[in-house]
Structure formats: structure tokens, C-alpha cells
């Protein structure tokens, strides 16, 4: 026990946290010191000092965690070979608390962080849902309510980005037959820099919160309480993590595929990872610009958005949504890739229209860049702009439809198991929920109907359905599906099914309930509602459903944690998949494939006698890695 505590207290995570606190204090005191030299008092919280402290704090975290160590050594000319395997003399789990360059370790780190951050964001949601269960203000003030929903949004985005990175990091190198990602140190950096970002956001809540929502629209963001500052900076740093991670994925897929793995012979999830990474790499900068401009306007008085000084508040919205619309495809494309990956395995049939499914991911990514202004249909921009964006928005439905039809055609006449295991249940759940999200989209796309629905709870219901169907359910499916390969143990099937059968109906009730109250006049981001709207029962149902979802996720966490000890050892390939990672006997070695493979067939040739996807080739010398 004591030893474990010692390992935790000296871990990179703890050192990073201490580094962040120390760095923040240092940065703050530096500015305060400069001011005192001029005889100026600095009252807490002084915003420019806090902004500077936040930057130094993030650097402090990275230095403390040790993720910059190798690069700093390179500067002074020291060589640092990549270390492989568990640290000597320490238990294997300590790897996950320290900087580690193995893509599977980083994938797990991302995954655990993602689930943990999901819980934090979910807790925020439950807190404000309890307030909304009845009309009238019961136990939250406006201030607390605004902070909670704002933090819920951005924390969940951090969680989803981490979840996407978890799946991509763990699976992409395995699926393409690589021993690791192209840039292992950059990979670790991407993960570790996302943690101080989340701490910044939570710190923003601690110093008084903010009231702008996760969108941080100007000019409200310019007058919001000081917590908004840490939110803006935390958001910015998350973007940093996202860009670094996406470059790594693109280079890895471009250069490290196994022999014979042409683009159209890659597992479909890899296509989704590419499409997602392209969006992350090309769109994140604009939100970074918007956030930087807001920080600059608040802290050093540059004028971009405030019309009183000649600025334009709508400019912020354009910059913001140019990233923030495509980013929803960052969340959903990997999830849709998981659905396409799992259905053929369980239906024992090839993925229907593989090339169409693969290219539809790219099509969604492309069209996704041309629709951002549909978030601004009521903003006051000219009709000459609104109408073209209406048509481009409607077109997103086409590649999305291709995915649905292809999934259905895949399971049509397929041999689905009569008692579907948990991952397959979550895939079915994902399809049904993403379908709700999908079919409720075009009504938001046509402007006249949007004029009623905009900023109403219909939108809340719609995007929660796309996020749950496109990310949460597939993510959970992926966790259950790959759990045997990752942990070497089977998860508990009964608990898995219980999780599903609690979460699916609860989500349906929640999502449809949200749309229903939105139609009747419930606005977004309000702490209270008028009982005259006649939505009290529905609001109560939504809150109850949210509680059920919360409990069901706790069941999953218990299942995953306890199954490593309680459940039977898993077979090497329990689902009978053709994907290369399942052909590895037992658990996956440190460098993935002791014997490299070569691709000689198509990935999803289920039902074809004698079809082979991969076969082993003579081993090559292990790359030194530095």
C-alpha cells in the first residue's frame, strides 16, 4: 500500500500537477512583482497576471511530468534512446501514471482520462438537470447554473477528443501493422498537454466560473467573469493537443502501413481516423485564432469584436464555427468507423460497399467544412449567405445516408448472433441513436424551421443524439470489444448487457424529451422555465433519464475494473475477427507484431472460402527507435 502510494506521489501526473501549480504561482507573482516595482498594487485575481500564470503553469506541468525531457536533452546534444517495456523495479501499472512512449500505453492513458473526464462532465450535467427537474429555482443560483452548463460543454469536448485519441492511438498502429506511431514523443506530448488544459478549465470554475457557454461568444466573453479567461486558455491548449495528435496519425498511416496494405485494403476504422485527423489538423487553428483574439482583447485591450471600438461580434462566430462545426465530425467519424468495423465481424459478411463507406468519411469531412454558418442562421448575416449554407448543410445528409444504408446492407441476410454480445448491442444502440440525431438534422438545416428551433432544446436533443450515437455508444462498444485483447480477460457479459439496457432506453427518453420541450418553447442555457409551457413532466423525465445514464456508466466502470480479477481469461480471438490485431496469440507484445505480416487480401472477406487478409512474413530486425 505504502509503496503504491509512493509510486503515485512521485508519478509524472503528480509532478505535473505540482509543476502546474508552481508555474501558475510563479507567472502570477512575476507580473505582480513587475507591477510592484512601479509601485502598483496587484489585487487577486488580476487578470493579466493570471493569464500569464496560466501559460507558465502549462509549461510547468509539462516540465514536471517529464514529457519535454527528451527534447530538452536533444537541445544540449544528448541522445535519448526510446525505452521499451515496463519500468524496471516498478509495477506495470505505474507506466500509466508516467510519461511513456508506447502507443498502446498512451491509448489506455487517453481512454482512462476520457472516461474520467466524461464522469466529471456528466456530474455537472446531473447537477444542473436536478435544478431543471422542476420549474422555479431550487438549489442553484444563476451564476452556478451558468458555470455548470458552460463547463459541461467544454469538459465533454475534452473527454470526446481524448476518447477519439484513445481509439485512434491504440488501434491505428495495430491495424496497419506498425510497431508504434511515427512520432512517439510527440504522441506522449499530445496526451500530456491535454491534462493541464482540463485543469485550467476546472480552475476557471474554481475562481468564480463564467457564463458564456462553451461557445464563448463575443461580446459576452469580453464582459464575463474572470473564470472565462482560464476556459479560453484551456480550450486553446486542448486544440494544441489535437493538432499534434492528428499530424502523428496522418504520418503514421501514410508511411508505416504493412507491406501490401493499399489504401483500399485498410480496415475501415483507419479511413475514419484519417478523415478525423485531416479535420483536426486543418480546422483547429481557426478556433485557436478566435480564442487568442478574445484573450488579447480582454487582457491587452486589442479590439477585434467589441463594436464600441470598431470590432465585429459576428466575426468571432465565423472563426469559431469554422472549427467547431467540423469538430463534431472529429467526434463522430471514428465512432462510425467502429460501427463499420464491428458489423461485418458479427454478421459474418463483408462490409457492404467498402469504398463508398471509406470515401463517405472523406466526403463528410469535406462537406463539413462548408456548412459552419448554419450555426448562425439567426445571427443577422445576409440572406445571400444564409441560403447557400442551407443547401450545403442539407448535402451532409447524403454521405451520412450512405453510411446508414451500407450498414444495413451489411447485416442484411447476415448471420447476426441470436444473443448479441455487449459490443454488438452497443453498435445497434449507436445506429438507432445516431439515426435519431441524423433524421432530426435536416429540419435544422432548412432556415424557416430553424428560425423556430435555433437555440431551443430541440438543438440540445439533436446534438446529444449525434454525440451519443456517433461517439459515446461506439466508444463503449469499442471498449467492450477490444477489452479482451487489451486486458487478457473477458468482461462480465451480464453487467455489460445491464449497462446497455439501462442506457439505451434512458437516452431515447432524454433525447426525445429534449426535442419535445424545445418545440414548445424551452430555450437553451436557461436555469429555469415557465410552467406555462406545459413541459414539467417531460423535464422531470429527462432528469430521471440522465440519472439512469449516469448510473449505467458507473456499472461499466465497475465491470471493467473488476473483470481484470474476477473474469475468465479471454481467448485470442473471441469474436472471430479477420483484423490483424486479433491474430496475435494472447496479449499484444510491446512492439505489436513479433512477426511482421503482409496483406494479401481484402479486410472483410467473411463468407469467402479460403480468403486470407494477412499472412506472416519473415521477421525483420527491430528498429532502434531513435
Amino acid at each position: 500500500m505504502l509503496r503504491a502510494l509512493g509510486i503515485i506521489l512521485t508519478s509524472g501526473l503528480t509532478r505535473g500537477l505540482i509543476g502546474q501549480i508552481a508555474g501558475t504561482a510563479l507567472g502570477y507573482l512575476f507580473i505582480a512583482g513587475l507591477r510592484s516595482l512601479r509601485g502598483l498594487p496587484t489585487e487577486w485575481p488580476y487578470e493579466p497576471a493570471l493569464a500569464f500564470g496560466a501559460i507558465i503553469g502549462v509549461i510547468g506541468f509539462l516540465l514536471g511530468a517529464g514529457v519535454l525531457t527528451d527534447w530538452l536533452k536533444w537541445i544540449i546534444g544528448k541522445r535519448t534512446p526510446l525505452r521499451h517495456g515496463a519500468p524496471e523495479g516498478k509495477p506495470a501499472w505505474s507506466r500509466y501514471l508516467n510519461v511513456d512512449y508506447n502507443h498502446k500505453v498512451i491509448g489506455i492513458q487517453y481512454g482512462i482520462s476520457s472516461v474520467f473526464i466524461l464522469l466529471v462532465g456528466g456530474l455537472f450535467a446531473i447537477l444542473f438537470r436536478l435544478e431543471l427537474a422542476q420549474p422555479g429555482m431550487q438549489w442553484l443560483s444563476n451564476d452556478q447554473y451558468n458555470t455548470l452548463f458552460s463547463a459541461h460543454g467544454i469538459v465533454m469536448i475534452a473527454a470526446m477528443l481524448a476518447g477519439v485519441a484513445a481509439m485512434v492511438n491504440y488501434l491505428v498502429p495495430l491495424m496497419i501493422g506498425a510497431s508504434d506511431m511515427a512520432f512517439p514523443r510527440l504522441n506522449a506530448f499530445s496526451y500530456w498537454v491535454s491534462l493541464p488544459a482540463v485543469f485550467l478549465i476546472l480552475g476557471g470554475m474554481a475562481i468564480g466560473g463564467w457564463d458564456t457557454g462553451w461557445v464563448g461568444y463575443a461580446t459576452l466573453s469580453l464582459r464575463a467573469p474572470i473564470g472565462v479567461m482560464l476556459f479560453l486558455m484551456g480550450f486553446y491548449i486542448i486544440g494544441f493537443s489535437s493538432i499534434a495528435g492528428s499530424i502523428n496519425v496522418l504520418v503514421t498511416v501514410a508511411t508505416m502501413r504493412a507491406k501490401g496494405m493499399t489504401l483500399f485494403r485498410m480496415p475501415i476504422f483507419v479511413w475514419a481516423a484519417i478523415a478525423t485527423s485531416i479535420i483536426q489538423m486543418t480546422a483547429t487553428q481557426t478556433v485557436g485564432v478566435a480564442l487568442t483574439m478574445t484573450v488579447a482583447e480582454r487582457v491587452i485591450g486589442l479590439n477585434f469584436f467589441d463594436p464600441a471600438g470598431g470590432g465585429n461580434p459576428i466575426l468571432y462566430q465565423h472563426l469559431f464555427w469554422f472549427y467547431s462545426h467540423p469538430v463534431v465530425y472529429v467526434f463522430v467519424l471514428p465512432g462510425l468507423g467502429i460501427i463499420g468495423e464491428l458489423l461485418p465481424v458479427f454478421a459474418r459478411k463483408p462490409l457492404f460497399g467498402y469504398r463508398w463507406v471509406a470515401l463517405s468519411s472523406l466526403a463528410i469531412a469535406l462537406v463539413g467544412f462548408l456548412v459552419w454558418a448554419h450555426h448562425m442562421f439567426t445571427s443577422g448575416m445576409a440572406d445571400a449567405l444564409r441560403v447557400p449554407f442551407m443547401f450545403s448543410t442539407m448535402l451532409v445528409a447524403v454521405p451520412t445516408g450512405v453510411k446508414f444504408f451500407s450498414w444495413i446492407a451489411t447485416i442484411w441476410e447476415g448471420k447476426l448472433p441470436p444473443r448479441p454480445p455487449t459490443p454488438l448491442l452497443f453498435v445497434f444502440g449507436a445506429i438507432s441513436i445516431f439515426l435519431i440525431g441524423g433524421v432530426t438534422g435536416p429540419i435544422l438545416g432548412t432556415i424557416p424551421t430553424d428560425l423556430h428551433l435555433h437555440d431551443s432544446y430541440w438543438v440540445v436533443g439533436h446534438f446529444h443524439a449525434t454525440m451519443f450515437g456517433g461517439f459515446i455508444f461506439p466508444f463503449f462498444a469499442a471498449i467492450y470489444y477490444w477489452y479482451p485483447k487489451i486486458s487478457g480477460r473477458m468482461y462480465n457479459e451480464t453487467l455489460g448487457r445491464l449497462h446497455f439496457w439501462l442506457m439505451l432506453p434512458a437516452f431515447w427518453v432524454m433525447s426525445i424529451g429534449q426535442m419535445s420541450v424545445g418545440l414548445l418553447g424551452m430555450r437553451r442555457r436557461v436555469a429555469d422555465y415557465d410552467p406555462a409551457l406545459g413541459i414539467e413532466t417531460t423535464q422531470l423525465l429527462i432528469t430521471l433519464a440522465a440519472l439512469v445514464i449516469g448510473w449505467s456508466v458507473l456499472i461499466m466502470i465497475y465491470n471493467l475494473a473488476s473483470s481484470t480479477r474476477l473474469e475468465r481469461a479471454a481467448e485470442s480471438n473471441p469474436w472471430g475477427s479477420r483484423s490483424p490485431e486479433w491474430q496475435i496469440p494472447g496479449r499484444i507484445p510491446e512492439l505489436n507484431y513479433d512477426v511482421p505480416f503482409e496483406v494479401v487480401g481484402d479486410p472483410y472477406d467473411y463468407g469467402l472460402e479460403g480468403a486470407v487478409y494477412t499472412q506472416n512474413v519473415a521477421p525483420l530486425p527491430v528498429p532502434s527507435g531513435d
Binding site: 451564476d143 451558468n146 461580434p313 454478421a347 444504408f405 435536416p442 424557416p448 424551421t449 428560425l451 426535442m515
Partner: protein
């Protein structure tokens, strides 16, 4: 029959499910009453979408559940499914057909949008001004009448010219169906022709800070005669010179005046700023730890320099800091119009003293 039989089942089930869902939507996805001319074409478009939602949802769910239950593996069957890679004709079909469907909806949407935003003859203009967290409505055609509620004559096309003084707000009356943001630094427009007499609520639909939730205003659609009577009554507003300071103070505090009421309640209910009920001579605990008696000097200073003395539990930088300028400008207007010198601050203090 063979495979063909499955498609007949699918068609029948999908048709039944579509009709059933569409009927269900009348209950679970009901719209509020339609009370404007704009609502009519918009609700027709809603209806079109509802049918499409019901059909697409049914189609995919029926086929998925059918595959799950009808095609599932039979006991003892260990074989794989049929090796079908794809079908280009199908793929092209389910790309082209949805493209035409969504473009048709786009055209429909554009036509309706054009219809509801087109300038009408004989429009009545109302200037809407929003600020944190209060609405006010000016009627330039009624001699600049300003009201804290929006009163509109039925069947009269209205053009709302909207401005925000601080952050984004959004005008939404669900019964009218249309919505438009108010943007600081520019004028946005919204056209409405109310068709049903009644009382509605205007609710701010764009997050605008602390008291966004409470940023509502009454909307009344009345007959032409009632409207004329209302304008008459409101225009009979006595000259400021004839009002008592307390009456003037209540006027300045309202949405027609400076909207103080948006943050400072007069009945003790919580708001973004301290309530005015019982404020006069109250001991206020300040954020810097000191205590102050809310006398004339304190109240005056708190209006002109709101960040000077922040009461514990409230935030700085919320209240505008230019009331001295605003008040002076208004006082000079009144001096020019009525030839009397009044002090708005004194009026407000007189009003606050009445709120015990």
C-alpha cells in the same frame, strides 16, 4: 417468392411504422399554437420534415430489426453469411435519390424564407432594444412611445428593428415561430404579422450572461381598437414636471426608463444586483470586508461608479458605468422639452425610499 418476400415485409412494416410515428409526433413533437402569418408556411415545412423523419427513421429501424430477428444465426449453424461485397447500382441510387430529396427541401426552405422575410406594404415599425437583462420597445410612429411590453395590433405587418446595447440577445416568441439575434453595433430586422389575439412571452434565446434565464417580456396581440386605446393611454403620460419624484423614479427604473428593474428587483427577489426592497439605510456588506450604510451618497455613487463598492455576493463589471452621461443627456432633453430641471438620481432615490 424467395428474397422478394423480405422486401414486401419491409415495405409494409415501414409504411405502417411511418404512419404510426407521424401520428405519435402529434403528441410528442407538438408545436405551440401558431399566432403569426409566418407560422403558416413554416408549419407546413415542419409537417414535410415530420413525414420525412418518420419515414427515414422507420425505414432504417425496420430493416435493422428485421436483420437482427429474421436473418439471425439459427441454432447449429456455424457458417458465414453470403459473400456480398457491394452493389454499385444500389450505392449510386442511395446517393442520388437523397441528394434530390434534400435539395428539394432546400428549395422549399428558400421559397418559405423568401416569403416570410419579404417587405410587406404598410408595415409598422417597432424599435426593439435589448440590454442585460431587459427589453424595451419604441414606437416611432406613435410619437416615440416607449414601453416595457410589446403590444401589437392583430393582422398588422410589423417590422422589428432591433439593437443590442451590450451583448448578443435573441428575440423569440415561440408562437410566432421566427427568431432573430440582436447584435451590438448593428441593426437586425425581423418581420412578423401577428394573427391571433392573445398574451405571449418574449424570451431571450441567446445566452447573454448572468440573468439570461429571467430576460423575458410580455407580448400582447390586441385588436386594432384596443391598440389605439393603449397608445392613447400611454401617450397621456403626464409631463415629467407634473409627476412626483417617486413616480418619476418608478418610471426611470422600468424598462421604459433605464431598465434598472432588470437586475435590481423591487420585491426582494434575487437578481444580478442587490434588490431595492428595503435598500435605503440598509447596512450593506461589501466585498472588501467593510460595511456601508445605503444612504443617498452611497446610492448615488453606486449608480455612477458601480465598481467602486461591490456588495458581497455580486460581481463587478456587470452594471454599465456610463449612467452619469445617460442621465445628463436625458435631463437636458427634459429641460429642453418641458423647461424643468429634474435630477434622475434624486428621483430614483425617492423611489427606492418607498420600497420598504
Amino acid at each position: 417468392m424467395g428474397r422478394f418476400k423480405h422486401f414486401i415485409f419491409i415495405a409494409v412494416l415501414t409504411a405502417l411504422s411511418t404512419v404510426g410515428l407521424r401520428a405519435l409526433f402529434e403528441v410528442i413533437l407538438a408545436l405551440p399554437t401558431a399566432a403569426s402569418a409566418e407560422a403558416r408556411p413554416i408549419d407546413q415545412l415542419f409537417n414535410g420534415h415530420y413525414w420525412m423523419i418518420a419515414f427515414l427513421f422507420s425505414l432504417i429501424m425496420v430493416m435493422m430489426l428485421y436483420s437482427i430477428f429474421v436473418f439471425r444465426r439459427k441454432a447449429g449453424d456455424e457458417t458465414d453469411g453470403p459473400h456480398i461485397h457491394g452493389n454499385t447500382a444500389l450505392e449510386v441510387g442511395w446517393t442520388i435519390v437523397p441528394t434530390f430529396v434534400v435539395i428539394s427541401f432546400g428549395v422549399w426552405g428558400a421559397v418559405v424564407l423568401n416569403d416570410i422575410t419579404r417587405p410587406k406594404t404598410d408595415e409598422m415599425v417597432v424599435d426593439v432594444v435589448a440590454k442585460q437583462w431587459v427589453w424595451s420597445f419604441a414606437y416611432p410612429e406613435e410619437d416615440g412611445l416607449v414601453a416595457g411590453e410589446l403590444v401589437l395590433p392583430v393582422n398588422q405587418p410589423v417590422l422589428l428593428k432591433m439593437n443590442s446595447e451590450d451583448v448578443l440577445h435573441s428575440f423569440w416568441v415561440p408562437e410566432f415561430r421566427v427568431k432573430q439575434d440582436l447584435v451590438p453595433g448593428r441593426t437586425t430586422q425581423l418581420r412578423i404579422t401577428p394573427t391571433e389575439e392573445g398574451e405571449y412571452q418574449l424570451r431571450c434565446a441567446e445566452i447573454c450572461g448572468l440573468s439570461h434565464t429571467q430576460m423575458v417580456a410580455d407580448v400582447r396581440v390586441v385588436s386594432e381598437t384596443e391598440y389605439v386605446a393603449w397608445v392613447e393611454e400611454r401617450s397621456q403620460q403626464p409631463a415629467f414636471a407634473d409627476m412626483t419624484p417617486e413616480e418619476r423614479g418608478a418610471f426611470w427604473a422600468s424598462a421604459q426608463g433605464f431598465g434598472c428593474i432588470g437586475c435590481h428587483s423591487n420585491d426582494g427577489s434575487p437578481g444580478a444586483g442587490p434588490t431595492w426592497q428595503g435598500l435605503y439605510l440598509r447596512q450593506e456588506q461589501l466585498a472588501d470586508g467593510s460595511t456601508v450604510t445605503a444612504d443617498e451618497a452611497y446610492i448615488t455613487n453606486s449608480i455612477y461608479n458601480p465598481n467602486d463598492q461591490i456588495v458581497t455576493g455580486f460581481n463587478a463589471n456587470i452594471m454599465p458605468q456610463n449612467y452619469l452621461d445617460q442621465f445628463t443627456a436625458r435631463e437636458q432633453e427634459i429641460l429642453a422639452a418641458e423647461g424643468v430641471e429634474i435630477s434622475i438620481v434624486d428621483d430614483l432615490i425617492a423611489y427606492i425610499k418607498t420600497l420598504e
